[in-house]
Structures are given as structure tokens and as C-alpha cells.
Amino acid sequence: MLINLKTIPNLIIEDLLLEYPFLDSFFSNNNIVYQGNEGKSLADYFDDLGQEHREDMAIDPDLFYQQLVEFVKQMISFLGKDNEIVESITILPGNDKSGIAEGFTKLEIKKGQIISIVGPTGSGKSRLLGDIEWVAQADTPTNRRILINNDKPDPKWRFSTSDKLVAQLSQNMNFVMDLSVYQFVELHAESRLVENREEVIANIIKKANDLAGEKFSPHTPITSLSGGQSRALMIADTAILSKSPIILIDEIENAGIDRKRALNLLLSENKIVLMATHDPILALMADKRIVIKNGGISKVIETTIEERQILSTLEELDKKILSYRRKLRSGERLLEEESIH
């Protein structure tokens, strides 16, 4: 079927839907109620609506044809393509707010790696994320350059809606929709045109439950999930359903969620993880940490063996705190000598 601005008015709605099933939701999102008129061409459908009704519905057939042709084009490339796999991103240095050169030569981050970002609030963490998302080419205030797979990136990363480079998980995120956990994940899966939907949804809910301290069912309304459960669901959903190869995390609060497993889940889905944090455990879990000062990267530090040992000590302490928390919640007394299990 040839779809362009010339042919589109005379194509039959039924044929269009048969060829491109995704147009069903396109019609519905554009308030085109074709049901009962499947046998008509689009032009006849619009003619039969009548001028007054078209005006009422704010439907402009010419604009609609243009949008439809563009949408089909985008969807065909979305569905058919062998996505360029992002194996790594590379940050090349620019300058800080005072114009002084950044303190590193080149930072390559491969998939399956975690990099933490440390530095005071307002020091330039969002600009760094902005640069990555915009795949900066020395055309942002920091003059940084971002490479993908060690090469100058395809401009599509800047503007595509379906191929966003970065997915974000941040501290103050909430669910705002009035849906059950199942419906919510289903909606997301639909928008991503996932094929084995049932299976993917079940997997996400299971993984989220593995991460959350307290279990929840697929029928729980998302707005009544606890903070930890919400974060667990957001992370599992992003890891499995989001196509973005890079995940940026702005702190994971230490309550009601197994943070180590959460990071492992993201890594097992082959994501590149960048994590802004003030928490020493998270900062040290990373392979490297970026130190940001005055809008620029002042240092890139590799986590040393000594620091890894400190991390184990911190993790033990963390476990102890969590076990005390659990005991207090269930009404037990704490004992000094008790081992931590």
C-alpha cells in the first residue's frame, strides 16, 4: 500500500487498519470515530461528516492527512528497524561556569556500568544530564561533546519521541494516574507496542515485588503504593519496558526497597546507569564517580580496593539498621549482642 499525501484521501479506512493496526489508536487519539464507516475512503468519511461537524470537532482533513502520513512513516521505522545498539557513551571535556577546562581527559561509560555523580546541590548535575540527553556537540554552555559507540552521534537522538537516549528516575516522582498496577504497566506496554504483553507485564510486577520490602498485588491502585513499592515498580518498569539505553537516577531513598538488587536489575537489562547521590553506599557501589564543582566535572575517581572494603563495612551497618527497623516494626525488643540476620 502506497501512503503519501496524494494517495491517502482515497484509501479505504478498513484497508488502512488491516495494513497498519496501530492506526486504530491513532484514529482514537485524534477523535476520528470511524466505526460504522470502515468501507469508506478517508475523503468520503470527511465529506460525509459535513462542514459544520468538522468545524465543531476542529478537524482539518489536510492537516490530518499530513499527520497521518508522518505517523505511519515514524511507526514503520520504529517497528522495522534494527535499533542501533548503544554499547557506550563517551563524555569529552568542556569547561565549567568560569570557563576553566574540566579536570578529565575522556570518560567512556559502557553498558552494564554504574557511574555515580557527586557534588553539592546546584553544582551542575542537571546540566551534565542535559548534555547527555541532548548529545551535546560543543553547542551547550559547557562545550562538552558526547559520543555514542565512540562515534559522532546520529541526530535522531535529539528529537525522536520513541528513541530517547535517557530515562530518568528521580526522588520526587509520583504516580499520578488512577489505575491499578496491572492496568498501568499494560498502558506503558501498549505505548511501546510490546508483543508478548501478558508475559512482560507479569515479569515486571514480579521483579518489582522482588525489590520491594512489602509485596503488592497487580490489582493494587498505583496511587496507594508505599514509597518503597512505588520506587520498586518504577525501577522494574523502566528497566524492562523503557527503550532508553541510559538510566539516570537521582538518589534512591533507603527505605522499603533493596537498592543493590534494583541496580543489578538495571544492569542485567544492559543499561548504562548514571546515579546522582549523596549516599556513600550508592556512591561507592559505582565503578567510577564523577565529582562536579562549579558547573564542571572537576575529577573522575575510580573506586579503589580500600573503598570497596569500606563499602562492605557500610553495607553491614546498613543491614543492621534495616534489621532493627524490621524488629521495631513488628513489636520486638532490640538486644545488644544479637547477630544481624
Binding site: S25, F26, S28, N29, N30, N31, E55, A58, D60, L63, Q66, Q67, E70, F71, Q74, S126, R127, L129, G130, E133, W134, D139, T140, P141, R158, F159, T161, S162, K164, A167, Q168, L169, S170, N172, M173, N174, F175, V176, M177, F184, V185, L187, H188, S191, R192, S230, M234, D237, T238, L241, S242
Partner: protein, 230 residues
């Protein structure tokens, strides 16, 4: 002079997005003025003044805000042109979801926010569908999944638009927007003879003319009745 029309539902973050974008434009040495259109009340002009941006505000009061916009946009353009600024931004709130202030040949930006609900893209008419750039705000407070679903819904009603995510608080994304809106070659000195991208709804009934009484005998002109039959 470049002219840019920005519009979007009330409280979607238009002013914050514009202010952050102006910061980036100014850093490139461009001068910017703003014309703010609203219905009953706005104090956004103070925000612009505090940021050192020349601003004019117009309140439509008892008139249809979008009709008021079209009747004044040429005068406002003349004001901007005579002040010698490089960029004039008009900001107006789309109040009835059916109107749109966009003009053929003039860059059009629609600002909507993630909190407004995923069916919102379906409810907003030409203001969203015929925009060149759609800016989605408040992404920092909803989940990644909701952001993705929302953006894909916007894309399905306006696949030709460039969709951008901007955080009005931190300004993340506003620098990127600033690189898309200024074009050296654009030089608008008048809008006379230009056309709206979409006709505004016709509405001339007795209530437009000040009638307050209820009942069929007081209704004249363009009247339509709701269908209550099953």
C-alpha cells in the same frame, strides 16, 4: 525581528519555560520582549519585569481571550518591532481547548504538562495539533512510564512536531529549546495579511451580547442544543 507564539493550558508552565529560555537567548546576545495575554488576571508581567524583560500585558476581560489575541497581535508586533528587539514572544493561555492563536509562517510552541492526565492530548484541539514544537513540563514529578505514555500520545496527535521535555524549575531543556526558536533569516515587521492556522470557533449568540436571563425565548443567534435522547 523573530516572532514566536507560545500557548498552552493555564498553569502548564509557559512563563517558567519562557523565562528560562530567555536566559539562554540573552547569553547569546539576543534581546527579547514578551507580550502576555490573559483573561482576568495575571502578575506574570512582574516576573518578566524582574528578569529585565520588556513586557506588555493584555487582559481580555469580558471578551473571548483568543479573539482578543488576534485583534491585538498586529499592534503588539509593531510595539516589539519598534522597540528593536531581536525576538518577541507572545504568551497566551488556551482557555477553551478549541482555539489556537497560531499564525501561518510564525513559529508556534504549545506547552502542556505531564500532570494534566494522559487523555489531555486528545482533548486539546488545534493548539496542540498544529504547533511546531510541543514542550512537555513537570516531568520531574511523574514516573518515567507516565512520561513515555504521555509523550507518545502527544506524538500521535501531532507527529510532525518536535517534542521537548523541559523542567521549568531547573531549566533543564530550555537551553536546547532556545537553539530551535531563533532564526537569523526571519524578519517579521508586520502580520498584516497573514492568516491564522485554524479558524476560531464562531460564537455569536445573545449571551455573547450580555444576555443573562435563562430560557429559550432569550436565546438568539448561534444556538445549539444538547442531545438528551437515548
Amino acid at each position: 525581528m523573530n516572532l514566536i507564539t507560545v500557548s498552552g493550558p493555564p498553569s502548564s508552565g509557559k512563563t517558567s519555560v519562557i523565562l528560562k529560555t530567555i536566559e539562554s537567548l540573552k547569553k547569546r546576545g539576543l534581546s527579547v520582549a514578551v507580550a502576555k495575554f490573559d483573561c482576568l488576571y495575571t502578575d506574570d508581567d512582574v516576573l518578566y519585569k524582574n528578569a529585565g524583560v520588556p513586557v506588555k500585558k493584555g487582559l481580555s476581560g469580558a471578551l473571548c481571550p483568543d479573539h482578543y489575541f488576534v485583534s491585538n497581535v498586529e499592534e503588539v508586533t509593531q510595539w516589539g518591532y519598534k522597540s528593536g528587539v531581536d525576538v518577541l514572544i507572545s504568551e497566551s493561555a488556551g482557555l477553551c481547548n478549541r482555539c489556537s492563536p497560531y499564525i501561518k509562517g510564525i513559529k508556534a510552541i504549545c506547552v502542556i504538562d505531564n500532570l494534566s492526565g494522559i487523555n489531555t492530548p486528545k482533548k486539546i484541539g488545534p493548539m496542540l495539533k498544529s504547533a511546531d514544537i510541543v514542550v512537555i513540563t513537570k516531568g520531574d514529578i511523574v514516573s518515567q512510564a507516565e512520561r513515555e505514555v504521555f509523550a507518545s500520545r502527544v506524538n500521535s496527535v501531532n507527529p510532525k512536531a518536535t517534542i521537548m521535555h523541559i523542567n521549568g524549575l531547573t531549566g533543564q531543556g530550555s537551553f536546547e529549546l532556545s537553539t530551535l526558536i531563533y532564526d537569523e533569516k526571519d524578519n517579521i515587521d508586520t502580520l498584516k495579511g497573514k492568516e491564522l492556522r485554524f479558524p476560531m470557533p464562531s460564537a455569536l449568540c445573545s449571551y455573547c451580547l450580555g444576555e443573562t436571563r435563562i430560557g429559550e425565548s432569550y436565546q438568539m443567534g448561534n444556538i445549539r442544543k444538547i442531545n438528551l435522547e437515548d
